[in-house]
Symmetry: C2
Subunit: 329 residues, 2 copies
């Protein structure tokens, strides 16, 4: 998997940073997280195939995460897309699409599977801001996994789930995960067991028992290594530090988390429903994430180095996202 | 005045051409014609001041002319714009703004003077496609100026008027015109007449009679050259060749006209409500325009030279627009 940041500025674009959008690229398909204005141009610059875009996942309906949607959907219409597209996000997207369709601004002629995820979809999940630190988290019980995420996308190899975040308006975070793959096939072991090369190898790899000519039954575990866990990427923006983000980021390979401000502006971050770089790093640490990619920088930081330094002091494996600078998961 | 094309592709952006938008820059103020997705980024790249943007004029509500509006308006809100902004275009803009405002996508905290111009605003204007050629135009009577344009903007130095074009949906063309300026002040002549240097010069320049100490009355015509006509720019897209475009382009310094296709695709152009490069050139010639700037090229033309050659064969003073390549009026 690969991560390609398409826009890393918050609120409005700068000359070097577009507004929010991230591509996560898997095998044969990719997904778009948020779709700020200009995202379709960034997709073209990243040389990503519009036809392989399998799902768009919107965090919330602020314009800088959303204004590129009508243009992107219409361009795929002009390009004669045929593949179904999943579009998930908070309630309001349907209203928006209907409004722009009435005005003839939208042109969609391919199957669109729209999934509006409302706050009530999360059972007892309470998306409240929590104090950072495992003690207080345990006290609030928000990180003990009592509530269920909502699955918004499934394919043969991947799943995408969502949980609520904690912004000024209802917002969703996402986790894109490769399914667990069977262990590696051990050819030497298979030969030692006298299994003839050919179709039996494939059946064992796919998890089925096979019977040999001499009547012996071979179980997959005899020739396969341990199951290989899939890669996982979480995307948490816009949000105050919250339990939903920690749940989504649990042991991920990469947590993409907003870091709108430096910690001298912690009060402002809280007032506007955002996180500081330090808070993003604390969430990564709490969640046991392997790596942290910070993004969604306030345009006031023409040089975002202070954001990176602040996060690295708490979580050393932090990377600062730059538009179109690709990351291997 | 200056013209800065911000987007010159039709339908969808390419790697080198954004979707529709043109800046026309006057003294102390400038205007935006159409606002496709990504226009606010192009404005920033052109180093134009958001605070000096006096009016946005939308031709029609297809997404590639319109999808950048919510983002641009909101960015000016974040930038704490105070100056009133005129926003003119066809009916539907108010519905759109209300829809995105309900969804919290829009953030406007400055005075917005919204002027929806409906087809009925043009009295007896019939925006029908006409045959090119003055004979047939005279026969239809469409170029004899029977109907009135609608004024959508006025400032001390400039006026902007609109007329209907002839597209698949209701579309408007615009003409931005500098007001006629008084003639140049002839200092030698003033001295010869014995007018003392100072405030009297200013009063004569502004058009007032003055009385000298010796009782003589001096009229402005005695010291001013002939009135200087203002510059004018017309913008006609999306449209089939039509009388409204000719009226708007009458004797302009620059006609900006769409040239979506080459003439081998004349039927397709007509079916989709567009013009070929040849038709754009014919409109420029009919209107007595001084220069023609063609734009709105179908993405099929990775090299638009054939469009330029086709237009120049009919109207030699044709220029091919390129994103951000500035033109002096």
């Amino acid at each position: 998997m690969r991560i390609i940041p398409l826009g890393t500025s918050s609120g409005k674009p700068t000359l070097t940073r577009n507004v929010s959008g991230v591509a996560v690229v898997g095998e044969g398909e990719w997904w778009l997280l948020d779709c700020g204005e200009g995202t379709q141009m960034q997709i073209a610059r990243a040389r990503l195939s519009f036809h392989r875009l399998a799902g768009i996942f919107i965090t919330h309906l602020h314009g800088d995460h959303f204004n590129g949607l009508a243009g992107l959907l219409s361009t795929m219409g002009l390009d004669e897309r045929e593949r179904e597209l999943t579009l998930a996000g908070p309630p309001g997207i349907r209203d928006y699409l209907e409004a722009v369709e009435r005005l003839k601004i939208l042109y969609v002629n391919y199957p669109l599977d729209l999934r509006e995820v409302s706050p009530t979809a999360f059972a007892d999940e309470r998306a409240e801001a929590v104090e950072i630190g495992s003690r207080s988290l345990n006290e609030t019980g928000h990180n003990t996994g009592g509530s269920k995420p909502v699955v918004v996308y499934e394919s043969a190899k991947y799943t995408v789930i969502t949980r609520p975040l904690h912004h000024r308006i209802f917002a969703l975070g996402y986790r894109i995960e490769e399914r667990t793959r069977p262990g590696r096939f051990n050819v030497e072991r298979a030969r030692a067991l006298g299994i003839p090369e050919g179709p039996l190898y494939g059946r064992l790899q796919s998890g089925a028992d096979v019977e040999l000519a001499d009547g012996r039954i071979i179980h997959p575990a005899e020739v396969l290594g341990p199951p290989r866990p899939g890669k996982a990427v979480a995307y948490c923006t816009d949000t105050r530090p919250c339990a939903g983000a920690i749940e989504l980021a649990r042991h991920v390979d990469w947590l993409i988390h907003e870091a709108t401000f430096t910690q001298d502006l912690t009060e402002e971050a809280n007032a506007y429903g955002h996180s500081t770089a330090a808070q993003a790093a604390q969430i990564a640490r709490e969640a046991g994430a392997r790596r942290l990619l910070i993004t969604h920088f306030s345009p006031r930081y023409s040089d975002p180095t202070p954001l990176l330094e602040e996060a690295r002091a708490i979580f050393p494996d932090t990377t600062l996202s730059e538009d179109l600078r690709e990351i291997e998961v």
